[in-house]
Amino acid sequence: MVLEATMICIDNSEWMRNGDYARRGSRRRPMPSTSSAAPRPRVSGIPDLIASVCWWVQSNPENTVGVMTMAGKGVRVLVTPTSDLGKILACMHGLEVGAEANLAAAIQVAQLALKHRQNKRQQQRIIAFIGSPVKYDKKVLETIGKKLKKNNVALDIVDFGESDDEKPEKLEALIAAVNSSDSSHIVHVPPGDNALSDVLLSTPIFTGEEGGSGFAASAAAAAATGASGFEFGVDPNVDPELALALRLSMEEERARQEAIAKKAAEDTSNTENNNASSSNSDSVMAEAEPASNAAAGDKKEQPKDDDDLLQQALAMSMEDGASGSAAVTDSAMAEAGAVDPDLALALQMSVQDANMSSDTDMSKVFEDRTFVSSILNSLPGVDPNDPSVKDLLASLHSQGEQEKKEDKSDKTEDEKN
């Protein structure tokens, strides 16, 4: 965990009197007159937040946290950066709401407080909870951001409460100006029936500063799902075993789906190879058949699957059920045919031939070298001048001739009879 000194800027302006967010249910004393889902003032959710931040900060015992207000009696530092959690929680008592928040001054004061930190080796970070509208314009915010970047201070912003039309963009611009190699983040929390601290627990501000792509999206999603922002709707702190079980089953499901996708991909590539080499065709078709059958079996277990590859596999397996092993090549050829209408016609003819007689007729079609080479030319990724392909063609042809001879001998025998 990175060694950090953090200053938390709390917005305790008049805007915070509005009640947008539910309080964190489990810890509050039940109020007899009002229901527990009634909106409480925004500011009352803050102490839980601070407590959560402190829990995170404790990951490195040398981390320090300080708290300051942006409004109320003015921009004041309540606690200079310290690792004593008692002091931090105590200062939250008697937090008054009033006046307007002064963001620029607050950030400057936070910078100064961080500059005079005791341990100079700590990285500097400011976490600002901004609930009131932002009255500065973008340029001013960008200069503030540049100054922070110049002094190597990271900034995290929690945008909640009042959302006038430009506030998210302004704050995004501020973060963009401060950000150097993903050190600064912004989280937008839309108003809803969920506790502010729950939503924030799932964002990278709490889960650590490394990575966190789409954290705004995850926060928004978490807020949208309501109740709690946890992955499976279960708080790992409350019920760790259930959360673990849910996570494991999710991963198993994902692994299974990946295996099927892989098999489907193998199927399609295997069946395309079939069109080029009938000498391998029987063996490969036999191989592809059990593979696609297995895929079909798995497919039926998972009806709700949006992956294109999987749908293909599903289609293949359905056709497989209809008309035996030839159907495997049918669907693949149909897929190749979709690309080229001439090829589609040719394939149709060959399919009809195959359906009418046995598998060996397939090889008759392949005997026609011109037809085969035309197929090969239209297939992507197959170079007819490739020596290995030429060899295959030669072997096809000889096998075709052999089978022709066999057929002829059979026919002559029949004729004799």
Partner: protein
């Protein structure tokens, strides 16, 4: 001693040098202090993270013309270099592009953890005004030796650059001097034999 060293340096350059990137004439009796830099404490404020301070200081990186130190938000840079032992600083060498190389350089001795806000609160131990020639000359510039007798850490403040552009670039920073505690006499003799 200063006059002798600068005369020797001038003489060396008078003989046609093949390229400016030829070997530096280390001033007589001084050593390159790169071996005494405490790398864990080296900091640079307002540096571009992809062009960091090590490109200008470290042995192999600083001689690579493609690697340089660049500034980020604006043209100022604040470099903090602590040493592993107390040193005396004699001269400094800066190499950079003619356009974006540093112009006004302020050196502070033994001031820990300065920021851009208080950099003008203290008088610098020395100020260098670099011209474009200095940046390509490969010649160490002498400092006010008396001010750098007991240096534990050095702060280099680059105030602006040659062309006034938004980005300052430095290819190489080299510091020459002697150590206070253990002046290795063998080393000293070798340099004098040059």
């Amino acid at each position: 001693m200063d006059a002798a060293s600068t005369a020797a340096a001038a003489a060396a350059l008078a003989t046609p040098a093949p390229a400016p990137a030829a070997t530096v004439q280390v001033p007589r009796g001084q050593v390159d202090l790169i071996d005494f830099i405490d790398w864990t404490g080296v900091e640079c404020l307002n540096q571009d993270s992809s062009h960091s301070i090590v490109n200008a200081l470290k042995q192999s990186l600083r001689d690579d013309e493609g690697l340089y130190l660049a500034s980020d938000s604006d043209e100022q840079l604040l470099i903090y270099i602590p040493f592993m032992q107390v040193v005396k600083l004699h001269s400094a060498l800066f190499k950079g592009p003619e356009e974006e190389g540093p112009k006004t350089v302020k050196l502070f001795s033994n001031k820990e953890h300065m920021g851009f806000s208080n950099v003008n609160d203290y008088p610098p131990s020395d100020t260098l005004e670099l011209s474009s020639n200095h940046l390509i000359d490969n010649k160490p510039l002498p400092l006010k030796y008396v001010k750098f007798q007991n240096v534990r850490s050095l702060t280099i403040f680059i105030e602006d650059n040659q062309s006034g552009s938004d980005v300052s670039k430095i290819h190489k920073i080299a510091l020459y001097g002697t150590t206070v505690d253990t002046t290795n006499m063998k080393d000293l003799k070798k340099i004098e034999e040059h």
